[in-house]
């Protein structure tokens, strides 16, 4: 899922300090799982903002809402009747949610309340790590289910590099070398032959090199 991290509250305050009525809008999708933008975080952020502005003796009304998802129009439409009561919105959904809300309510100022970080997994409660960079052309089949694009710091398609030491990456002794993981996995599978043929250059057009991406599933369209 998409991982996000709350922005420092000072940064959010700076953005909204000149408004009088602000809606804090959460998303109960990915960002709720990584405890950055769900219902609980909406309540905490709204409460903190109310206390800050009350302490500053500034009149500020802070509303709360948490939508099922902010990346679907149907759910964003749930606030169409009340969004007009506010001067601005702090969306604590991922960057996609913030932008989609801006597109749908284009007369409203929408500010991001989180920093969207990566596509990843929950290692344990409170710990999340990256697994996918959405490159658009998955090569996991040839790398034993471990992605060199996301797990190798250099995104090497033929690794490991000289910076791999005792299974760790040179960037940090705590970061496993992606290619070491791939090597061990392929060894377990008896597929080390894969290393005899170098991987050809990857077509990055399906990744960000091809500009903003869009996809269509014709049979799903109405």
């Amino acid at each position: 899922m998409i991982m996000a991290k709350p922005k420092p509250i000072e940064e959010i305050i700076q953005e909204i300090k000149d408004f009088d009525k602000v809606l804090v809008a959460g998303c109960n999708g990915c960002v709720a799982v990584c405890e950055a933008g769900g219902l609980k975080e909406v309540e905490i952020l709204a409460s903190a903002l109310r206390m800050y502005f009350a302490n500053q003796q500034k009149k500020m009304e802070v509303g709360e809402v948490s939508l099922t998802r902010q990346c679907d129009k149907e759910y964003l439409a749930e606030i169409k009747d009340r969004i007009g009561d506010y001067d601005a919105v702090v969306s604590i959904a991922c960057g996609a949610g913030v932008q989609f809300m801006t597109e749908m309510y284009n007369t409203m100022r929408i500010f991001p309340g989180v920093n969207t970080c990566f596509i990843g997994v929950t290692d344990e409660k409170g710990v999340w790590s990256e697994r996918c960079q959405a490159c658009g052309a998955c090569i996991l089949a040839s790398t034993g289910g471990i992605c060199p694009v996301a797990r190798c710091s250099k995104r090497l398609l033929n690794g490991p590099c000289g910076g791999s030491s005792n299974g760790k990456c040179e960037i940090d002794k705590e970061v496993p070398c992606g290619w070491q993981l791939i090597y061990e996995r392929l060894k377990e599978l008896g597929e080390l032959k894969r290393f005899e043929q170098p991987t050809p250059p990857k077509d990055w057009l399906t990744s960000r090199d091809g500009g903003p991406r869009k996809m269509t599933k014709e049979e799903s369209r109405l």
């Binding site: 420092p8 509250i9 000072e10 305050i13 609980k40 309540e43 905490i44 409460s47 903190a48 903002l49 109310r50 206390m51 800050y52 009350a54 302490n55 500053q56 003796q57 009149k59």
Partner: protein, 119 residues
């Protein structure tokens, strides 16, 4: 034991301090409490193993959050004591009351418009 402790303390009973969420502490302050302390079991003695450890982390989080919004972190505290320590509880109540009294009234209640809702 006929112990006395400051009468301004309002006790909210919970089955375990592990139930204390960040928002509970925030709401208490937002609605006008001058301070909040969480009284949990001794560390290592939690019936549910980690309830009090989790509560401590949440208390610490709220303290940091208060500092970022310009409120005194000392308005929120975590104490650990066993249920048999009545005198210690009374002592903590006095200690917390004194600490909060020195900080003064909750500025939210004093300055904000939420005064009427605080009661």
């Amino acid at each position: 034991m006929r112990l006395t402790y400051p009468s301004n303390i309002r006790i909210v009973k919970l089955p375990c301090t592990g139930r204390v969420a960040v928002i509970h502490l925030m709401r208490a302050l937002e609605k006008g409490a001058d301070g909040v302390f969480v009284a949990g079991c001794m560390e290592g003695d939690c019936k549910y193993q980690l309830g009090n450890i989790r509560a401590r982390k949440r208390v610490e989080y709220v303290r940091q959050l208060l500092a970022t919004i310009g409120l005194e972190p000392d308005r929120v505290a975590m104490y650990n004591l066993s249920s048999g320590e009545g005198p210690r509880f009374a002592e903590i109540c006095r200690e917390m009351t004194e600490k909060v009294r020195k900080l003064g009234p909750n500025p939210i209640r004093v300055k904000g418009e939420r005064k009427e809702k605080a009661a």
